[in-house]
């Protein structure tokens, strides 16, 4: 009896050690154990991409369930996400809508190093945007780019030759004016073009296309010719003024979809919207096409050259507070989302994935209602996409400041030179010195 007691004690101690070892997490996680990871999304009812990704992933990883958590749409998404991350209640995997706030997340230590995921991805063009000091902190799953949408009926009505891929911005301005005159001549109320109130519609192109342009240099001279052309079109009545678009809250979906404008520079995300709206009746049914964005000069025009345009990738990152047992599943999800299978699934709902392959193009152009002409295919597949927001501590501040400059210039409150000079002074004294 007396001898039994130490034996019992040592057995208990051994058992405790074994049990403690189980909780230690050093043991390899069973790859087939059921796991649930959470993913942030917005407007889930009208934005099917998150469910597409979750379902597609489930097909190859039956043990992993991706649970969607709904966040506010628009700019509120980032505000809400930042709050949740700071409070430690954010989902395991979250979306970065553009590059504007990537710096905030990354420098704030809110993104897990996912270099091992990206090394297995091959050459996805937008990967570089998410790299800091040689490490990757997110992967892209969407890569929209800006193109030129045009209404073929209105071009025919105005008897203007539709875009052929050879346009510079001067050609675009010229065509818009001729459309305006032509449409007026046949009694149509439609304008030549619609330029939405986003600062990107001017600044995004100027930054991407002008040789040597650099947002972070604080020298904004590259914006001048782009603004002069916009002001010229406004003054000629060839596009609704910035003031009218603002005060009447014009939407580009209605302006182009309801045939109020023949030309619309916009991102490729609008393809899916336009298809859906033409189906639901929110947009008219008319033949349309996409052309490459007009270019800075002739060196990048024509279908044998590669047009330059802009667009931020949409990326996925992992919350560093994720529990260890879920990290592998979350990384596998990122690998899937940026890869070719997810690409095809996304193209099936009209969305442009991070890597446009032949299979993606075939799927997207196989959708009902997508234009079938060669130029549309060319515009969709061939381009150099530069990021709208270079990743830096100063990006958010500079973009806010330039957004104010945008409204100053387009409302004719100040001349282009004076407004840009003021923007440069402010950039130097208020943002770049921080």
């Amino acid at each position: 009896m007396k001898r039994a007691i130490p034996a019992v004690i040592s057995a208990a101690a051994a058992l405790t050690l074994v049990l403690a070892g189980c909780g230690g997490g050093d043991e390899p996680v069973d790859p087939n154990a059921p796991v649930t990871i959470t993913l942030a999304g917005w407007s889930l009812a009208s934005t099917p991409e998150f469910k597409t990704l979750a379902d597609g992933f489930k097909a190859t990883h039956p043990n992993v369930t991706v649970e969607l958590k709904e966040y506010a749409p628009g700019n509120d998404y980032d505000t809400q996400m930042i709050t949740d991350l700071a409070a430690g209640t954010a989902p395991d995997v979250y979306v970065m809508k553009n590059l504007r706030n990537f710096y905030t997340y990354q420098s704030g230590g809110q993104l897990l190093d996912v270099s091992d995921v990206t090394s297995g991805l091959g050459s996805v063009p937008a990967l570089a945007s998410y790299q800091v000091d040689g490490k990757a902190y997110a992967v892209p799953y969407r890569q929209d780019s800006w193109v030129l949408f045009y209404n073929k009926d209105l071009f025919a009505k105005a008897k203007v030759t539709p875009p052929d891929g050879s346009w510079t911005w001067d050609d675009y301005t010229d065509a818009t004016k001729r459309l305006h005159t032509g449409l007026k001549g046949v009694g149509s109320k439609a304008t030549g073009a619609y330029q939405h109130t986003f600062q990107s519609t001017v600044q995004g192109f100027a930054l991407a296309q002008t040789p040597g342009a650099d947002l972070l240099s604080g020298d904004f001279g590259y914006l001048k010719p782009y603004y002069e052309r916009s002001l010229d079109l406004q003054a000629a009545g060839a596009q609704p003024t910035f003031g009218t678009a603002k005060t009447n809250k014009l939407t580009y979906q209605a302006q182009f979809g309801k045939q109020q404008a023949a030309l619309l520079p916009m991102g490729t995300w609008y393809v899916a919207t336009l298809l859906n709206q033409q189906k639901s009746g929110d947009a008219d049914k008319f033949p349309w096409g996409i052309a490459p964005a007009p270019q800075f000069d002739k060196s990048t025009t024509g279908t044998s050259a590669t047009p330059v345009t802009f667009g931020d990738p949409t990326g996925l990152g992992i919350n560093p507070k994720i529990s260890k047992s879920k990290t592998a599943a979350a990384k596998a999800f990122l690998q899937y989302a940026a890869g070719p299978d997810a690409g095809k699934a996304l193209a099936g709902i009209g969305i442009t994935p991070a890597q446009v392959t032949d299979a993606v193009t075939a799927t997207l152009f196989g959708l009902d209602g997508v234009p079938q002409d060669e130029l549309s295919k060319f515009a969709y597949t061939k381009h150099t996409i530069k990021p709208e927001n270079p990743v830096s501590k100063h990006t958010a501040g500079l973009q806010n400041l330039l957004n104010e400059t945008h409204s100053t210039i387009l409302s004719n409150s100040k001349g282009v030179d004076a407004a840009l000079a003021e923007a440069q002074t402010r950039a130097k004294n208020e943002v770049l010195n921080q």
Binding site: G108, G243, T408, N412, R426, N429
Partner: protein
């Protein structure tokens, strides 16, 4: 003398009981106030002296935020615009509210209907107000400019799309929205002026204007003071109306302090700097209210 030791404990018990009862009455409200307002305000005073950017630790930077503010042209623009708004919004709303109150303090047919109409803007959603007024102000297609053109104004203003006219446009809408509310306060004030005073003044042969200056205005002194204090605070922290109508634009022409705080804090994640600007806004509101109270006190004595 002998009774003193016996009454003291009972007294203490009574005080204790009253204190507990008092606290239990205000506690439900006070907990909410403390958690949602008092604590954040206290934290704000700390954050203002740090470089907190929402993630990580707030690093103490001393008065760096205030020094930065001193040289920040945008801060001064925002302050100037806030003063511009306040300087016009207060007298205009005060006059409009008083005028309406006097008009609707008579025995008119359907006076209740008109009072309701005047109060309507105040209970209407600010989002709806901003959108509808923006359309009314639309420079090319809006009815306001159509009217101005009809009466012979060749070059009507661009309103919310012009940096010169955007602030007047916002002030007009602000006045229109709030005059109904302050009218209600003035109406209540007017009811408290005894009718005998007017009768006596009339017997003495005072004209309507003299009665207004010598009876109504002094009779409304307390109401006017109260309304002015409320209006001042409300003007200095104007935010939603401007954010929805112009977003601070065109350029920075309608950028006000509270929007600048929002921009720095929630758009650029510079919570330390945004808190410092909030403290300045608080100090301005506080200072002006103290001055108003002092002036009012002197007037009383």
């Amino acid at each position: 003398m002998a009774t003193l030791p016996r009454t003291r404990p009972r007294n203490r018990r009574l005080v204790w009981r009253n204190t507990v009862a008092g606290w239990s009455f205000i506690l439900p409200n006070f907990i909410g106030f403390a958690v949602l307002t008092l604590l954040p305000v206290a934290v704000l005073f700390y954050v203002a002296f740090t470089s907190w950017n929402v993630f990580g630790v707030a690093e103490w930077t001393g008065t760096a935020n205030f020094q930065r503010m001193w040289g920040d042209a945008s801060f001064w623009t925002a302050l100037r615009n806030t003063v511009y708004y306040t300087a016009f919004h207060i007298p205009l709303t005060l006059a409009a509210a008083l005028g309406l109150a006097l008009l609707l303090n008579r025995k008119l047919r359907g006076v209740r209907f008109f009072r309701t109409v005047a109060f309507f803007p105040y209970v209407t959603s600010i989002v709806a107000i901003a959108i509808v007024w923006n359309q009314l102000f639309s420079p090319e297609y809006g009815p306001i400019n159509a009217l101005l053109r009809a009466v012979g104004v060749d070059d009507p203003p661009g309103w919310t799309t012009s940096s010169t006219w955007s602030m007047p446009a916002v002030i007009i809408v602000g006045t229109w929205r709030y005059m109904g509310y302050y009218m209600l306060l003035f109406l209540a004030g007017l009811q408290t002026i005894p009718a005998q005073l007017y009768e006596a003044a009339q017997t003495d042969g005072a004209s309507a204007w003299q009665r207004f200056v010598h009876v109504t205005i002094p009779g409304l002194r307390h109401t006017t003071f109260f309304v002015t204090v409320l209006l001042t605070i409300e003007s200095f922290k104007v935010f939603d109306l401007i954010l929805l109508m112009t977003g601070g634009g065109p350029g920075q022409s309608t950028l006000v302090l509270s929007q600048y705080i929002y921009q720095k804090g929630f758009e650029e994640n510079q919570f330390g700097y945004a808190s410092a600007v909030s403290i300045v806004l608080f100090a301005i509101c506080f200072g002006i209210t103290v001055i108003q109270f002092m002036v009012n006190k002197r007037g009383n004595s």
